[in-house]
Symmetry: C2
Subunit: 337 residues, 2 copies
């Protein structure tokens, strides 16, 4: 049903219906009620494409993320979608599967005005960020979250990665670790670099010399990650603590420890960034740095809507570091020998 047909039912013009549904002051309360009541009754909704075309607004945002089968991102989406639904917006979702080619394709595609704004988390592979800057040149609001990058001058939501890295490493030192390895999920990602800096800061504070062979630069390839971590852990005496910057690397480490019969936490203590709800029930229970994924999603979305609805607002300067939490569990339990 078109707005014209609908209008005919009430013997008024399409213009009046449109204005009534948009709560224009030009329309009397009486007429508004007649329109709204019938619209409710017949579930009449103006064609969104025609509306978007005319208004040049689609009430739609895009969420571009590396992966979804991931406790952090799925919770973040939960937060984003909640705010979007509150605001009456629709959320398109795009997965890059950590491929910069896919990311580039998706972002370039989104320049056609299909969405009013974009929430993105860069893929691991991505080293060139010009596509994000192109978005900004086209005045499409963009908020980066978690996987942010310095090259793009726009709003960013992250966690206190440096501090968390420091705290995690300090915790390992406090439980008696002397040779602490660091598993980097990326050697370029801003968040990972910050986590590493926190790690280095803690080592420095406790006068522990940095051993580069204990710093493992992992990638998106789980096979090669396996090899890397396996090689590290095989020379067991060289490492007694592991700070992992990503959940999946910790899982991999659990697997490798199980295969190599390395006892956690006796032989090796592990603390990791993770949003896993089951961390308490692992064998042994896993000490984690947990990011406020849901809140980050909400925060990022709120900021995006601010940018969309108040174009004068200089949202681009926002840089929010949200607080993550250290949950101490048995994987970093101090063992007195």
């Amino acid at each position: 049903m078109t707005i014209k047909e609908f209008a005919k039912l009430l013997n008024i013009s399409a213009a009046t219906v449109s204005k009534a549904m948009n709560d224009s002051h030009e329309i009397s309360a009486i007429t508004k009620k007649r329109v709204l009541d019938l619209a409710e009754e017949l579930n009449f909704q103006p064609n969104p494409n025609a509306s978007s075309l005319r208004r040049n607004k689609n009430k739609t945002i895009a969420i571009v993320i590396p992966e979804i089968a991931n406790n952090f991102f799925s919770k973040a989406i939960d937060g984003i979608e909640m705010i979007a639904q509150q605001k009456g917006y629709h959320s398109l979702i795009y997965l890059t599967h950590e491929s910069s080619t896919k990311e580039l394709g998706i972002i370039k595609h989104l320049m056609n005005g299909r969405v009013d704004g974009i929430l993105a988390s860069a893929s691991l592979e991505t080293k060139d960020f010009t596509h994000y800057n192109d978005l900004l040149d086209k005045n499409i609001p963009l908020v980066l979250f978690d996987r942010v990058c310095e090259e793009v001058q726009t709003a960013k939501i992250t966690t206190d990665d440096f501090h968390a890295g420091y705290i995690a490493t300090k915790h390992l030192i406090d439980t008696g670790c002397k040779k602490i390895g660091f598993l980097a999920f990326s050697d370029v990602a801003y968040a990972c670099r910050k986590r590493k800096e926190g790690y280095l800061e803690a080592l420095s504070e406790y006068k522990i010399e940095v051993d580069e062979s204990l710093i493992i630069n992992c990638s998106n390839d789980m096979i090669s990650n396996f090899t890397l971590i396996n090689n590290l852990l095989k020379k067991r005496k060289k490492v007694d603590g592991l700070f992992s910057s990503a959940e999946n690397l910790a899982i991999l480490s659990y697997q490798i420890c199980s295969e190599l019969a390395i006892n956690i936490p006796k032989d090796l203590k592990i603390v990791t960034f993770s949003n896993m709800p089951m961390a308490s029930y692992l064998n042994p229970s896993l000490s984690t740095i947990t990011q406020p994924a849901f809140e980050m999603g909400k925060e990022a979305a709120s900021l995006l809507f601010l940018a969309i609805e108040k174009p004068r607002n200089n949202y681009k300067d926002v840089f929010t570091e949200m607080k993550s939490n250290l949950f101490i569990r048995n994987s970093t339990k101090r063992i007195f020998k």
Copy 2:
């Protein structure tokens, strides 16, 4: 940039550009190449709203699911999005948070033609399914997956819930359980009813009398679920095996066992439906029935696109039961006393 402005750059008409970009046979190869090359260079894309309005097609589908911070649904979305991206479609995501009111609102909203088709998984609360039938009346393709319902005559993708329930229960019996409880995540959901029927079938086959007090009808309220399961497990001698129809109920059971100092698997064996990647690393490792979530998503999406692109196809008759797998781990380990 509009198609007119773009056309002017090549000294041809907008119509020609449109046809060239849609690979019409009316346009010469030479012109097509000129158009496509410039479009590539300038990243020109026709306004999607104008296009959708004219064509009455949006190249967009909706995914309506109860929750996303959930291993099954996030993997299913992964599969759906992959197929959608291959087909050049966009995926809108809507979360109902298990609320039938929200579900109803979302589905009613989607009747305005914003999407070409819908993939849905009903919320637990939903008992009235007329909104889905309304969609079908409006000729909007609909594929239900996992949380399907008999009341709606459309395509459905599920798992072999009856068989899986039977196998899981049989496995508990084989490992020595005599008093097996069943944790139902819903008393109405089709999938859960089937799982229960499989459970009952196995009991019957082994001549184990059904004890209704061991069948716990859980809900979406985790607080009351806690009470229900806690009450069941406190009278410990009454139950020595637990078949859980949903992951979160198993997690809750682990928690309760830990609090009540019930040893798994010695005092109680547990097997559950779950897509948790960490099942092997739990304490004890958790025996699971695992659904092919990713493949289910792909299958559901493929079917939806078939319905969208071949309107004559009677996709509505499709009812696919995909095979789930039983992974036997330590939570159901036989203990010889």
